[in-house]
């Protein structure tokens, strides 16, 4: 389904869209307040970007260094070329441990690989332990945001879900009560778990260690209780040295939610006594993205979600409208690299306002990459006849100033004089859901010339 079609479904409930829009803008606002108190914030972003660019330019060597050190730490390292191989590896580790009950903390990579359904086929229970992820798991939905997975659900919906699945009492969506009940329910799961799966925020070549960030403590509750801990990471999670964590941990939570740091930033290096630790390193299209000079900076991403919170399209269309594991602006530059046809509408789900690039903690030029994907998609995938025609027409109009002025005059006149029904007639998609402004009497060009004539 095209993004615009899916977005129009989300837009049917106007009150909910408005709430969604405001809630995310509020998170963006908290980000602003938080970063403005950090001296040298822009230099910090520069550093984050430059460290990531350097790491990517030496990634094969850093991966080898990381593997070597992880092995020295007593951790087993596995390599997966794609999602299928990743799932097979995780499954085989679980089988070797006879693990039937698995707790998993947030990992967009395992979402990308569709790990849960793969394991469930073999009757392995996988419980997502981040509260937001547990909510969407109970609702049999994918996360709609990478940091706030259930941001599209209101508390009444959570109330109903918990009544149905956890046997809670009706509570008018009281967040305190619902969270407490989830804590009890998931505490049981932590205690029973045979294995814990976590994502990875940063993997450090120098030490072979990895860092996992959560606010809830769910990654730690899983990993420190279960006999085996499996950490799944994309190749781009590498950073060269431990000291670089100083840069990225300062950037991450402030950009994500405005917190100065997540509650827990856990540094795993060696397995605890008597337990096993595995790391699965996954490519799944990342090496290919690295080959594209225009798009390789998308691999800098540290998954803070700031570009989603600020995006006027994301806020009003919801994460599910992107129909991709990573929604929003960053997802719209990552996804076409995986499947150009399937995701061909995503780079157009943007006003190219550039707000995403402005807030990105590692300075990915997101809006420029969206524009570049558009160039490729327009050439390589079939475009609707109406769009092709109007593009040709506009191309001609803009290349001929006289004609442009003439048509501009006619357009302004029409916007002043024609009835609304005619202006907003079906072919004009700009008239959908909104009224066009009244046409001004003079063009910018007229105004500018007049202004110059009147002395400066």
């Amino acid at each position: 389904m095209e993004h615009s079609v899916a977005a129009s479904i989300f837009n049917k409930n106007e009150a909910k869209v408005n709430w969604h829009d405001k809630a995310l803008w509020f998170v963006r606002h908290k980000r602003d307040l938080s970063v403005h108190t950090v001296k040298g914030w822009e230099q910090l972003r520069e550093l984050g970007s430059a460290i990531k660019a350097h790491t990517l330019s030496n990634l094969d060597n850093y991966l080898v260094e990381f593997e070597e050190n992880a092995l020295k730490n007593g951790v087993q390292v596995h390599w997966a070329a794609n999602g299928e191989e990743h799932n097979r590896i995780v499954h085989s580790i679980l089988k070797a441990h006879q693990a039937k009950k698995v707790v998993k903390s947030k990992s967009m990579l395992t979402e990308e690989c569709h790990l849960n359904p793969y394991l469930e086929v073999d009757n392995i229970e996988v419980i997502d332990t981040d509260l937001g992820e547990r909510i969407v798991q109970l609702a049999k939905e994918p996360p709609s945001h990478i940091v706030l997975p259930a941001i599209h659900k209101n508390k009444e919906e959570v109330d109903e879900l918990f009544q149905e699945h956890l046997g809670t009492k009706p509570c008018n969506g009281d967040p305190q009560y619902l969270t407490n009940e989830a804590r009890k329910h998931l505490r049981e799961k932590f205690i029973e778990a045979d294995a814990a799966i976590t994502g990875v925020n940063f993997a450090i070549a120098e030490t072979g260690g990895l860092v996992v960030c959560t606010n809830e403590g769910n990654a730690d509750m899983g990993a420190h209780l279960a006999p085996v801990h499996i950490a799944c990471m994309g190749v781009e999670k590498l950073i060269p040295k431990q000291e670089h964590l100083g840069v990225f941990l300062r950037l991450l939570a402030r950009s994500a939610t405005g917190q100065p740091i997540t509650t827990y930033s856990s540094h795993f290096k060696k397995p605890r006594e008597g337990a096993k630790m595995h790391i699965v390193i996954v490519d799944n299209g990342r090496a290919e993205q690295l080959s594209r000079p225009d798009f390789r900076a998308s691999l800098h991403c540290i998954r803070c979600g700031a570009c989603m919170n600020t995006c006027p399209i994301y806020r009003r269309s919801g994460g599910h409208s992107y129909n991709a594991t990573i929604p929003g602006p960053i997802g719209s530059i990552l996804s076409p690299g995986k499947d150009l046809k399937k995701y061909s509408s995503l780079p157009f789900a943007s006003t190219l306002c550039g707000s995403c690039s402005d807030v990105c903690p590692v300075k990915i030029d997101i809006h420029k990459q969206l524009y570049k994907w558009r160039q490729i998609i327009t050439k390589e995938t079939p475009q609707p006849a109406m769009k092709k025609m109007s593009m040709k027409f506009m191309g001609r109009m803009f290349s001929n100033p006289k004609q442009y002025q003439k048509i501009g005059r006619a357009g302004r006149w029409a916007l002043r004089n024609l009835p609304k029904g005619l202006i907003n007639a079906r072919p004009n998609v700009w008239g959908k859901e909104r009224d066009l402004p009244k046409g001004p009497k003079e063009s910018f060009d007229d105004w500018y010339k007049k202004r110059n004539k009147n002395g400066k």
Binding site: H54, L59, V158, L186, G217, H224, T257, Y264, E288, L290
Partner: protein, 205 residues
């Protein structure tokens, strides 16, 4: 399309590394982190206290380590499952880690008191590592967490914190900033998700 595809058939490790090697750009420089650009000359204790409170914790100023137990008892007078690693507080302990069969048996722990050697003013984070942590799950599974820290262990920001940690070999370590929390239900902040329900930091003069 653009880009280079086609994997050469090898084990996945080698093919992944070979693809990356082929596709990566020319080597770019690794920047130095110049700490001066981040110096904000704020008062360390004041800033640390403010940040711990922002993230939902409480700071108590103590004249010496001898006051730790008194303060803990004032905060948690009626708890039955207690554990402390602070020197001279073993009378407080109601559980024995030596007798512990599996970490799961800590599920009833009410109060845990741990020592730390690094606190970070800019974000209220306190470093707890396996060197001070007999069982890793302790600070997460406990209902209430108390972290004890000398004022002289405060550093302005994470860059300084990692400098202080450099060369110290930890099998596991964690920065803890406040009690566990979530805002996953309609963005309403709820303290006490899976980890500790409360966090108190004792700053020793």
């Amino acid at each position: 399309m653009i880009g280079i595809k086609k994997e050469i058939k090898m084990g996945s490790r080698d093919s992944i590394l070979a693809n990356i090697k082929r596709n990566k750009p020319d080597l770019l420089p690794l920047p130095e982190i110049n700490l001066e650009q981040f110096e904000d000359s704020l008062d360390l204790v004041e800033e640390f206290t403010k940040k711990v409170e922002i993230v939902g914790g409480n700071v108590f100023n103590l004249a010496s380590k001898d006051e730790v137990l008194k303060q803990v008892k004032a905060l948690f007078p009626d708890t039955s499952h207690n554990y402390s690693t602070v020197e001279g507080t073993s009378g407080f302990n109601t559980i024995s880690l030596e007798a512990l069969q599996r970490p799961h048996d800590l599920n009833d722990l009410d109060v845990l008191v741990l020592e730390s050697l690094v606190g970070v003013s800019e974000n209220g984070a306190v470093w707890v590592s396996s060197n001070q942590l007999p069982v890793r799950v302790l600070p997460f599974i406990t209902k209430h967490l108390v972290l004890v820290l000398n004022k002289s262990c405060l550093v302005p920001n994470l860059h300084h914190a990692y400098k202080a940690l450099n060369g110290i070999d930890n099998d596991f370590g964690v920065f803890i900033s406040g009690p566990s929390k979530t805002a996953d239900i309609e963005q309403s902040l709820v303290i006490g998700a899976h980890g500790a329900l409360s966090l108190s930091v004792f700053l020793i003069a």
